[in-house]
Each structure stands twice: as C-alpha cells, then as structure tokens.
Symmetry: C2
Subunit: 194 residues, 2 copies
DNA sequence: GTTATTTCCTGCCATTTGGCAAGCCGGGCG
DNA sequence: CGCCCGGCTTGCCAAATGGCAGGAAATAAC
C-alpha cells in the first residue's frame, strides 16, 4: 500500500514539508473498511484517528423514537473522527459506518499525542483539522436554521454531488433534517422547475 | 480588578496548577462590555479570545431575507470566541453583542499563540476549550434534527434558565430555529400542561 | 408625566412537513 | 422466467409552523 495520498494529505495545509510528511507518515497504519462495516459503535470510546483516502463513511445516531439519523458524511481527503469521544475519552453517542469499501490511514490516540508532542508542525496540522471541522459544523448549523429544506438539498447537491450519489436517499434526508418522503417531494419539485 | 475568577477558570479543567494559573493570568487584559455593545462585527477578523467572568453575550448572523438569527449564547465561565475567524484569520460571518453589561479577560491571537508555545499545560487547556465547544455544537445540531421545537425549548429552559431570563424572546426563538410567534405559542402550551 | 418604542401574546389563514399506505421499479435468486 | 425484497415515489390527510396584523403591557425617551 503506497503512502503517496497520505503524504499529499499531510502537506495539503502547507504547515508540513515533504520531508517531514514522509517521516510522519511512518507512524500511520493502513486501514481498510468493507461496505456496511461498522467503524465505531455508539457507547464505545473512539481510539482511531482516520484519514480517509478512498470511499465514503457516514455517522449516525438514533433519535428518541429510535429512528436512524445521519449526522455526517465523510469523503476521501477528510478525517473521520468523533471529536468528542476521541479527545475527551468518553463513549461515542454516534455510530460510524462505511457506505462503500474504504481505505485510509489510522492513528491511535496515544500515537497522535506522541506526534503532537514530538512535532509542532503536526500539532498545527491537527489544530487546523479541528478548526475546519468546527467551522464546517457551524456553517451547517446556520444553514439548518436559516435556509429551507429545499435550498439545503440544492446546496448539498451543488457542493457534494458525490455524497448524494453514494448514499441512500433516506440517509441524505435525515442528514438534511427531513424525512425521506419530504426529500422525495423536494427532488420532484426541483426537477420540475429546472 | 481582581484575578480570582480568571485563575479559578484556568484551573477548572485540572491541567493547570495554581502557581501556573497565577503566572498565565498575568498575560490576560481586563475587558469590559456595556449592554448592547458590539464585541465583534461581521466582516472583521476576530483578534480577541475572551474569558467571560460576568454577563451574557449572544452571537448572531443574518439569513438570506435579512432576518437576525441568534447562533449562540455565552454566559460567565465560557470562552467567547468565533473559532473560525480567530484561528483561521478570516472575516467573521457572525456578530457578537453584549446582552448585559459584561466583564472578562482578553487575549490577542499573538498572545494566545505565545502562551501555547511557552506553556504545554495551557495548550492542553486551549484544546479542551475547542473540543468541548465542538462537542456542544454537535449535541445542539443533533437536537435540532431529532427533537421537536417544544422539547428543545424545554431543554434550554432546564439547562440554561439564566439565558432564557436574560435574552429577549425573539433571540431565544431564532436560536431554537423557530419564529417568535411559534415560541410564544410553545410557551403557552408548556404552561398550560404544567 | 407623557409619548414613543419595544416586547410579547394572540387569532386567522396559507404553507410546509410528517405519517401512512399503496404502488412502481430494478436487482438478486431460486 | 418469475418471485421477492428493498429503495424510491406519490396521494391523502393531519399536525406543525410561518406570515401578518392587531393589541396589551412593559420599557425607554423626552
């Protein structure tokens, strides 16, 4: 398994040089997931920091009525991580599942802290991942409140068409905060006006 | 102005000793806000990391129709911060405004980085702030999707009664993702069933 | 003290969304 | 080939929510 994509990933933010990236990459372990495989089960403490290089993952939880609710999608080039469980060492409230066959590079909590301690550049990288994730979540939150469901769907389709393509409709629906029934109607309306 | 509350704050997570807290506290500057005063205006880059020791602050943005939407509330004991703008040095999309007279302790971006560099324990503290903020946002996000508006209001009332008390109804309403009209009805229904 | 202004409640009606159930369609399998 | 099953769509109706407007009450301004 070749580390090119991992190294590219590490250098993507600009805070890590090629030489450093090659070095840091040694600590990561290759990781494969098969379609439908559970990567993290709710109730467990997450101990894997995963850089996804191919495939799609979704995170989900159950609402008070027991309905499966998608909380996030992850595509290649992203870090798959339940921040709260991983960093606070608390049981995860969410499940993570592979939507397609996946591959990536993994790090344990101990390994990550080791790198953080030994390599200030990697610490910068880690902070960037956290901050960007935070920013993305805030943007999505704001969207949830300010824009109607139809616009949220249009936006998702425009920015992440691959996700809509690889995830079942019901998952996209619950991610958008509507039922699959409503999303189906929204799609119909969108197609009609086009 | 006395630094007791600041020191207590720094020690609250357990990663900073009393002596270190006293030392670190020297870098902070006292900061006052008057009711209705704007702390950060949308479009500006945030350069202030603010530990709030008294008072209430709210953050808000405008939706596509120009409506004022509350994105968050901050009470004493919390860090008032627009993560994305502060750490990524980008213009803020949100405004921050004091709901009441406030006081706290502030740090510039440069000062914060100085402390991060010089003091590993403070770095831990900072990561904790970020991670807890992230976790809180995720919880809120999940709530937005999984629980009805009435339950969200009940929950806010149960966990942060002080916020409901100090913020005008319309701000609470937009924070919950409903209109002030709807919130007014929800309150009536809640009162009736009690 | 009086006048403006803001905040909040309420009624009426339009729109959106959900729940349910039936139907359609395409893939896997005997 | 024919069957079954899961994913998606659609129609019908009920419930939740929004928009608007009027009015009461509290607050601020003069």
């Amino acid at each position: 398994m070749n580390q090119d994509s991992l190294r590219t990933f590490l250098q993507s933010t600009g805070s890590i040089s090629a030489a450093q990236a090659a070095d840091i990459a040694q600590t990561f372990c290759p990781r494969q997931l098969r379609r439908h495989e559970l990567w993290l089960r709710a109730g467990k403490v997450s101990d894997e920091y995963l850089l996804l290089t191919s495939g799609y993952v979704r995170s989900f939880a159950y609402d008070t009525d027991g309905h499966d609710v998608t909380t996030g999608f992850f595509a290649s080039g992203q870090v798959v991580l339940e921040v709260s469980s991983f960093f606070m060492r608390t049981p995860s409230q969410e499940n993570f599942q592979a939507l397609t066959d996946c591959s990536g590079w993994a790090l344990s909590y101990a390994q990550l802290n080791g790198l953080f301690h030994a390599r200030p550049e990697f610490r910068e990288f880690g902070r960037g991942v956290l901050v960007r994730g935070f920013a993305a979540l805030k943007t999505r939150m704001l969207e949830m409140i300010t824009t109607p469901a139809a616009a949220r769907y249009e936006h998702l389709l425009a920015t992440h068409p691959d996700i809509v393509q690889h995830a079942p409709l019901k998952d996209v629906a619950s991610y958008l905060g509507v039922t699959d029934t409503s999303l189906s109607r929204l799609r119909k309306a969108a197609a009609g006006k086009k």
